[in-house]
Amino acid sequence: MLEYPRWKYILVAAVLLLAFVFALPNVFGEDPALQVARKDHSAVTPEAEQQVESFLTAHGVHFEKSYIDQDRLMVRFASVPDQLAARDAVNGNEDFKNTYITAVSFAPRTPEALRMLGLKPMPLGLDLRGGLYLLYQVDVNSAVSQALEGYATDARRALTAASIHFKDVTVGAGGQADTIRIQLEPGADVAAARSALNQPLQGLSVTSSSDTAGPVIEAAMTTAQVRERQDYAIQQNITTLRNRVNELGVSEPIVQRQGVDRINVQLPGVQNSAEVKDILGRVATLEFRLEDTQHSALEAVQTGRVPLGSKLYTHTRIGRPILLKREVIATGDQLTSATSGQSQEGPAVNVRLDARAGENMLRTTKANLNRPMAVVLIEKRPETVEVDGKQVTHEVTDEDVINDATIRGVFSNSFQITGLQAGESRELALLLRSGSLATVIYVVEERAVGPSLGRDNIAKGVTALIVGMGGVFLFMALYYQVFGVVADLVLLANVVLLTALLSMMHQVLSLPGIAGILLTVGMAVDANVLIYERIREEIRKGVSPQAAIRAGFEKAFSAIADSNITTLIAGVVLWVLGTGPIRGFAVVLTLGIATSMFTSLMGSRALLTLMYGGRRKLARLAIG
C-alpha cells in the first residue's frame, strides 16, 4: 500500500486550482481599445462613462464594451478600424479634447467576473508589443549646485544686511561641488560673519579659515544632504515625466528609477520617438519680470556694463536687447494651470497663478500701470563637449524674452501669454502643466521596437514554446509510458503555476521570459527523470512496485534539491544584477525552480499515489 497524507492532497489541489484561476486571464487575448482619462487626473465617473458611450453611439462608432479601470475608462472595440473611428470622433470634438486625454491601446479580453476579482494577464514587454524604451541620465550634480546657489543667495543677503564686507560667494569653487566658499574682505569680523550666516546656512557644516586674500568661510553639504537633494531631484523628475507621459496619452507607461541617477521610461505602442523625447526631456519654465526703463539696453550692450539690479537679455524675440529688473514677479513653478488658446495676437497660453504669486502679480501690476512687463522663456538643455579628449555633458541654459507688453490694467492670478508660435503654445502649456524637471535629463539608451516586429516576436516565442513543450511531452510519454504522461501533466501544472505567479506579480513578459518558461519545462523534467530512474532501479532490484515508487521519491530528493540549488544561485544573481528583459528571464528561472520543486515532488507524488496507491495486486508499473 502506498499512502499520502490527506492534507497534502488538499494542498496540491487548492494550489493548482488557485493557480488555474490566476493564470486564466492570460488565455483570452487582447482587443483594440481606447483609454480615456481626465486631464485633471480625477477619476472618470460612471456618469462620464455613460456620456462617452452615448457620444460614441451618436457618432455611429460601434464598440464592444466599456469599463472603468483605475480611474480611467477603457473602451474595447472589435476591430482596429472601429478603434480609430472612435479616436477620430473623440479628437474632433473640442469639449471632449479639453476634458479628456485619450490613448489608443489594447485591452485584455478578460471576462467581467475575472476582472472584478482584480485578475489581469501578464503585461507584454516592449519587445513583444512594440514601443519605445528610454533610459535617462539625471544630472544630479546640478541639482546639488542649484540647492547651494539658493544658500549662496541667502548668505549674500545676510552678509549685506549685517554690513559685513565680502569679496565673493562662490559655489563649487576649487572642484568641490558640494561647498560654498565665502571670501571675506581682509580684517572682516569672522565671528560676526558666522553668526550672521547662522540662520541662512542652517544645516550645513560651516568651517572658517584664512588665506592670502583674507578670511574664508566654507559651508558644505553633508553626504546625507547631498544624497537627499539628489533623491529629491530624481523623484521630482519622475513625477514630472509621469505627468508628461500621461499628457501625451500613452497607455500603460512605466516610469521608474534605475540605479542611482537613472530613470527608465517604457512607452508601449509609441512610434514617433522624436516628438515624444522632445517633450519628455524638455526643461522649460517662465519668468515674469518688469522692464528696466531707466537705463538703455543698447548702452549696456555697447559698454558691457549692466546697471545694478538689472539683467541684460540679448537674445529676444522682440527684436532688440532688453534690460529687465532682477526681481522676479512670478515663475512657471507657481502656475496652477496652463492651457493653450488663441488671442488677437496669435497663439497664446492661458495661465493661472497660485495664491502667493497671484498676490504678488496684483501688487506689481497695481504699482506699475502703463509700464512694460516681459515674459522670459527659460530652457535648459544638455550639451556634450570634448574636454581633454573626454566627452562631458553639462547643462546649458537658454533664456529668451518672448514678449514685452505694457501693463494696461490690474490683474492678478489669471492672464494670457502671447508671443508664441503655433504649436509652441500647445507644447509650452503641456510643459508648464506637467511641472518642470528639477534638472536636465538626457537619453543614454534608447530602444525602439516597431509593432510588426513585436507581433513577429510573439509569434516566434509562442511557436518555440508550443513546439518545445510538445516535443518534451511526446518524448516523455514515449520513453516512460504512463509515468511519462503523469510527468507531462505535472509539467503542464508547473507552467500554469508559474504563469499564475508571474501574473500575480504583474511581471512584464518579454521574449527572454518566454524562453525562461520553456527552459523551466526542460529543466523541470529533470526532477521527474531522477525520480523515475530511481523507481526503475528499485524495480530491477526486485522491490514491489509500490515500495519502488516510495523509495524513488525518497532517494531522489537530495539529488533534486541539489541540482535546483545550483541553478537557483545563477538565477538569483541575475535577478539582482540584471535589468530589463534579462531580469525578466531571471525572475522566470528562479520562480520556475520553486514551482517545479512543488509540482514534481508533491504534485506528481499525489497523482501517482492516487493511481497506484490503493491497488492491492499491482504486478508491474508502466514506466517503460
Binding site: L135, G522, L574
Partner: protein, 311 residues
C-alpha cells in the same frame, strides 16, 4: 523504451587520459581564439547604434552602406538578416549624436534608396551605459562562480571532489566563449544570462554523480575507487543523458524558432549543455580520482582509541 541496457559498464576511469586530452585541446582552442579574436560584443556592451530596417523589395546591402556613409555615418556595418528584404545596421558609438537625430538620419538615408523602407527596430546605447553593462555582466559572472564555489565547498566534504566540480564548472563557460570567439556570433546580454544558466546546469549533473559516488562508497568502503566511480557514472548515465536530451529539445526549439533575438542565447545554452554533460561524465569524477579520492575522505573512520579515554 530504454536507451540503455539495465547496467552499462563503460570504463570511464580507465580511458580518462583520452578525455583529458580532448578537453585540454578544446580548452586550448577556445581560450586561444578568445584571446586572439575576442568575442563580437553587441552594442549592449560597446555602445552604439543597432537598427533593423525592412524594405519592400530585396535590399541592396552595398547601396545601403554607401548611402549611410554618404549621410555621414562612420563605418556603418550592414548585413542581410532573416530575408533579403531585411537588413541589420550597426554603427559605432558617437556621443555627439543624439538618438533622435540618428533615427531621422537613418530613415532619410534609407528612404533615399527606397521610399518604402522602414526602421523596425532601433537600439541606441550610450558608451557609458555599455561600459556599465560590461562591468555588471562581469560581476554577475563573478558572483555566480563565487556562490557556486561556496556551495561546492559546503556540499562536498573533500577538496578532491570540490576540485573536480570546480574544474568542470569552469570548463563549460570557456567552451561557450570559445564557440562565440570562433563563430563571431553577436555576444549580447542574453548570452551572458545563458552562460550563467549553463554554470548552474553544468554543476547539477556533477552533483548528481557525486551524490551517487557517496552512496556507493557507503555500501562498500573496501571497493577500489576507480570501480566505484565507474559504477556511479554508469548508474546515473541514463538520467544524465535523458535530462539533457529533453532540455536540448526545448533549446533547439528556441534556436530554430525563437527568432534572431534568442539566437545567441539558445546557441550558448546548447553548447553549454553539451559541454556540461561531457564534463560531468568524463572530467569531474576523473579529476577526483587522480587527486586520490577514497572512501576514507567521504567517511572518515572514527578512531576507536580516542573513544576509550572517555568516561
Amino acid at each position: 523504451m530504454e536507451f540503455f541496457s539495465h547496467q552499462t559498464s563503460y570504463p570511464f576511469m580507465a580511458t580518462r587520459k583520452v578525455w583529458y586530452t580532448l578537453s585540454a585541446l578544446l580548452m586550448i582552442v577556445s581560450l586561444g581564439s578568445f584571446l586572439m579574436r575576442g568575442v563580437n560584443l553587441a552594442i549592449d556592451f560597446t555602445g552604439g547604434v543597432s537598427a533593423e530596417a525592412s524594405f519592400p523589395q530585396a535590399a541592396n546591402v552595398d547601396r545601403v552602406r554607401a548611402s549611410l556613409s554618404a549621410a555621414g555615418f562612420r563605418d556603418p556595418s550592414v548585413q542581410n538578416f532573416g530575408s533579403s528584404r531585411d537588413i541589420a545596421i550597426r554603427l559605432p558609438p558617437d556621443p555627439r549624436q543624439t538618438a533622435t537625430a540618428v533615427r531621422a538620419q537613418l530613415e532619410t538615408a534609407l528612404r533615399s534608396i527606397d521610399p518604402g523602407a522602414q526602421v523596425v527596430q532601433l537600439d541606441v546605447v550610450g558608451p557609458q551605459v555599455g561600459n556599465e553593462l560590461k562591468v555588471s555582466a562581469a560581476w554577475a559572472l563573478f558572483f555566480t562562480l563565487l556562490g557556486i564555489f561556496f556551495y561546492i565547498a559546503f556540499r562536498f566534504h573533500t577538496w578532491r571532489l570540490s576540485l573536480g566540480a570546480i574544474l568542470a564548472v569552469l570548463h563549460d563557460p570557456i567552451l561557450v566563449l570559445g564557440f562565440f570567439a570562433i563563430t563571431q556570433m553577436s555576444f549580447d546580454l542574453a548570452v551572458v544570462a545563458a552562460i550563467l544558466a549553463v554554470i548552474g546546469y553544468s554543476l547539477n549533473d556533477t552533483v548528481v554523480v557525486f551524490d551517487r559516488i557517496r552512496e556507493r562508497f557507503e555500501g562498500n568502503r573496501r571497493s577500489p575507487p576507480d570501480v566505484v566511480l565507474d559504477q556511479s557514472i554508469n548508474q546515473t548515465l541514463s538520467r544524465t543523458i535523458m535530462t539533457k536530451v529533453v532540455t536540448s529539445i526545448v533549446v533547439v526549439a528556441l534556436l530554430f524558432l525563437g527568432g534572431p533575438v534568442l539566437k545567441g542565447f539558445s546557441a550558448a545554452l546548447l553548447i553549454g549543455i553539451i559541454a556540461g554533460t561531457y564534463s560531468s561524465i568524463y572530467i569531474s569524477s576523473a579529476i577526483a580520482l587522480d587527486c586520490g579520492l577514497t572512501a576514507e575522505h567521504l567517511f572518515p573512520t572514527v578512531k576507536k582509541a580516542a573513544l576509550d579515554h572517555l568516561p
